[in-house]
Amino acid sequence: MSKILVFTETTADNVKSVTIEILGRLQGQEVDVACVGDLPADGQKALAENGAANIHKLNGSGLEKYSPEGYAKALKNLIDKGGYDYVMAGSTSIGKDLFPRLAGMLDAGMASEVTNFTMDGGNFAGTRPLFAGKVLAKVEIEGPKPHFVTVRPNALGMPESATAGAGNVQEESADIGEIKAAIREIVKGASEKVDLTEANIIISGGRAMKNEENFKILNECADVIGATVGASRAAVDSGFAPHAMQVGQTGKTVAPSLYIACGISGAIQHLAGMRTSKVIVAINTDPDAPIFTKADYGIVGDLFQIVPLLTEEFKKLLGK
């Protein structure tokens, strides 16, 4: 059995679901959770129900806003006291930015963005995609402990059952000292939707969208099914969508339950970024488009005719 610290981020009313996915995989280990700032009541409950023994809430001057230096120093204090074998987090914007710095502080190894892992005998062994998912490899960590791991959201899936932990809440005050790179301002993005990397459903448009304006038919469909809208590199390079929406090797790698590709031919670098989606629907006028080789359901047709029909059919199904 290993002693593990899981760093969690919060949403408005809960913890990010990737935390619960990780806890599900850590059943049978000794698991503590750490967060910075407030923890919503439902989140605290979910952590305890899924096995957290101690829940450390870190607070202190300079921790009101995220900074990699501040968060890393606060967590390092906790790790120094706790004697952990592993420290884990979701591979989110913060997880990706923060964990390498934290691992570096301890000269420790880190496995980034694993999509699966086991803890046989308390030892971590992970699977991670490389070359944007064109190959998979087994990864193990060597050298001084604790070892660091980030996990791709949506990859493990939510646990079907759980053994509750004590869920003791510990308030920790952290003295983080000087921050050299601090956030002055946060400019909210236009999208209120969940990010592509964490989305459960994605509907993406390619070059065949023809222009930016036409993305509204994807937005309409997305609103009905609670999807996030993405784009191919061809659509981004043509100026139809911002880079933040790009799915693929030079954009975001995604793993939703349902991926709907509209007018995307399926270049190798796009397929690499979305092939781990559980179910793929492709709509394309070219019956030989490579995207159809990855699609569970392929529709050979014009997206401008098919997508509005799809939206209507989803409305009927969902009673909207």
């Binding site: 880190m110 995609p129 990864v139 790179a181 990397t197 880079h243 359901y297 050979v300 047709g301």
Partner: protein
């Protein structure tokens, strides 16, 4: 100003990747190597900063094999002043690469005022090296940078996070900047630039020169394999207007009854 850029050489994005015989890495013999696409934004930003700050030099550093030096030659041809190559295999982990980059920067006798890199290398996709190098050099870092301004020793950086939200960071003093697409439009190397690059200094170091040994390895990879192929899916013909409503209704029905995702 002493400006450094960390670059990596990676397989072209169009490359078909296959595991090698014993599954310990990929087959590298027939790969076309390019500069990591995100590193192009780093080189470009370094050159823009050099143009704005008289007396600056841009030094490009790479850790990797010598079988091809495409990434460094491209950076020099774009306008970087000098290059350092730390010779190593192409399968070092992030910790080893970071320690080698740190060693090379320290050995250069120039104290780094600003370091640029891409936000991730598109080969191992670890997104660790910029933060690790910054930590090892006791510098702050800002990653996924889409906006950069520098004046009077102060740097203002825009970092892109979930949902297209932008965090604006202020930094005084040295900083590591990990660049994202959207930051700038990288220039193409001109023909005179390519000719000039051949005469620019390229220093070659070994891992031992920069203080890296086998004991620094932190990750052990095995079992490289292609991802499992999906069984062929169902394909529906809906080019004719008459067929469309029926096909769409059937697919939506299957998404609920068979795939259970709606």
């Amino acid at each position: 100003m002493n400006i450094f850029v960390c670059v990596k050489q990676v397989p072209d994005t169009e490359t078909k990747i296959t595991p090698n015989g014993d599954g310990t890495f990929i087959e590298t013999s027939s790969i076309k190597w390019i500069m990591n696409p995100y590193d192009e934004f780093a080189v470009e930003q370094a050159l823009l900063l050099k143009a704005a700050a008289a007396g600056s030099t841009v030094t490009v550093v790479r850790v990797g094999s010598v079988q091809d030096t495409e990434a460094l030659r491209t950076a020099l041809a774009m306008g970087a002043d000098e290059a350092i190559l730390v010779e190593a295999e192409d399968n070092l982990d992030s910790y080893m690469i970071s320690k080698a980059l740190k060693g090379a920067i320290e050995k250069s006798d120039k104290s780094a005022d600003i370091i640029f890199s891409g936000k991730q290398a598109i080969d191992d996709d670890c997104l660790q090296v910029p933060q690790l190098v910054a930590q090892m050099l006791d510098m702050p870092s800002v990653t996924v940078v889409v906006g950069f301004e520098h004046a009077d020793g102060k740097t203002s950086l825009k970092r892109e996070v979930e949902g297209g939200t932008i965090e604006v960071y202020d930094v005084s003093g040295p900083v590591m900047v990990a660049c994202n697409k959207g930051l700038n439009t990288p220039r193409y190397a001109s023909l005179p630039g390519i000719m000039k690059a051949k005469r620019k200094p390229l220093q070659q170091l070994s891992l031992g020169d920069v203080g890296v040994s086998a004991d620094d390895r932190r990750l052990k990879y095995s079992g490289f394999q292609l991802p499992p192929e999906k069984p062929p899916g169902k394909k529906f013909e809906a080019m004719e207007e008459g067929a469309q409503a029926g096909v769409v209704a059937e697919v939506v029905g299957l998404l609920r009854s068979e795939a259970k995702v709606i």
